[in-house]
């Protein structure tokens, strides 16, 4: 006996993702799922973004790590609210985890919720968290071949940030190659070259973020 179904296997995650997405849309909040390898500079970039945009964007952060709340502490030091999810071994966040964390954020006073996903260039791309957009970070020390090697992750990005450009004088990194490979898997993504340490290029990222947030509120 055979039955035909056509149902999504990750349906449970998708249900929570839909719930999260409706919550964000209902409140006019831009939710950005931030994905990258460990050590690419996600937390530093978010902390700087929050500091530089104080008075313009009210930001909250959901942090995902296997262990510790070190990143949440760094975000809270900026004055922004942060909720830490310790996955205890899971290599990605799930929409259900995000749903639980949202209840701990002061959503009525936020314009943007960043979800800093577990450092991993593979698994997070498979799990919709209910975000409005995905930001993928690629840092100069990781090498320029990552968009080609990890197409699924870069294909899902609304914006790609090439971070740590302050190291270009010390490390061989072909920006044109990285952008060409990115365009192959994602012709529509915006791409910016930034340094969260020096501040170079961050203004273009901020303009994109503010415009995206304004579009969310309409």
């Amino acid at each position: 006996m055979k039955i035909t179904l056509g149902t999504k296997i990750l349906g449970k995650n998708e249900q929570f993702a839909l719930q999260n997405r409706r919550l964000f849309r209902g409140r006019g909040i831009l939710c950005l799922n931030v994905i990258s390898s460990p050590g690419s500079g996600k937390t530093t970039l978010l902390a700087r973004t929050i500091e530089d945009l104080k008075g313009k964007l009210r930001c909250g952060v959901i942090e995902g790590d296997i262990k510790t709340d070190l990143d949440a502490q760094r975000i809270r030091a900026t004055g922004a609210p942060a909720v830490q999810i310790e996955t205890e071994g899971a290599c990605h966040l799930s929409a259900q985890q995000v749903s639980g964390a949202l209840s701990e954020l002061p959503l009525d006073s936020l314009d943007v919720v960043f979800i800093e996903n577990v450092g991993n260039l593979v698994c997070p791309s498979a799990f919709d968290l209910g975000e409005g957009a995905r930001a993928v970070l690629l840092s100069v020390p990781e090498g320029d071949d990552k968009p080609a090697k990890y197409p699924a992750t870069f294909a899902g990005a609304s914006v790609v940030l090439i971070n740590k450009i302050d190291l270009l004088e010390h490390i061989s990194f072909d920006i044109d190659r990285a952008l060409k490979d990115l365009r192959c898997v994602n012709p529509d993504a915006s791409a910016f070259q930034v340094s969260a340490i020096s501040g170079d290029g961050m203004r273009t990222w901020y303009d994109w973020l503010i415009a995206r947030r304004d579009a969310t509120k309409k």
């Binding site: 035909t4 296997i9 294909a155």
Partner: protein, 121 residues
């Protein structure tokens, strides 16, 4: 790896149908895209682990990989996209837009014909 989460989800979905029908599942077919993809070998291993000591143990899982389709912006041809050759096969343009990648889907389940009368767990 996400194969584990997918395998656990698949086992739960199959068991739910098996309980409703009160029949032992034999085989299932799933499909996935190119970006929403599964590694066959890893998935089979993950499924075997997730299915252990359940009615899904010893099931055969067939995985169908659905090509990613792209539409050429120059000539409007729709083609199966290849990362190794990211050009329109008709006009050679490198300007295209992807159609939605196929999600991971449970397509069908085959069950034993004989009713198990409450044996399925």
């Amino acid at each position: 790896m996400h194969e584990t989460a997918v395998a656990q989800g698949l086992v739960q979905a199959i068991l739910e149908h098996a309980r409703k029908l009160d029949r032992r599942p034999l085989n299932a077919k799933i499909s996935c895209g190119q970006f929403n993809t599964l590694n066959d070998e890893i998935f089979q291993f993950a499924f075997a682990a997730a299915a252990e000591e359940t009615a899904c143990s010893n099931m055969r899982i067939d995985i169908v990989h659905i090509p990613l389709r792209a539409a050429c912006s120059a000539c409007s041809d729709v083609f199966d996209f290849s990362l190794q050759n990211p050009l329109c096969p008709k006009c050679g343009a490198d300007d295209y837009h992807f159609q939605p990648d196929a999600p991971i889907i449970l397509e069908e389940i085959e069950f034993e014909d004989k009713n198990n009368r409450g044996i399925v767990e």
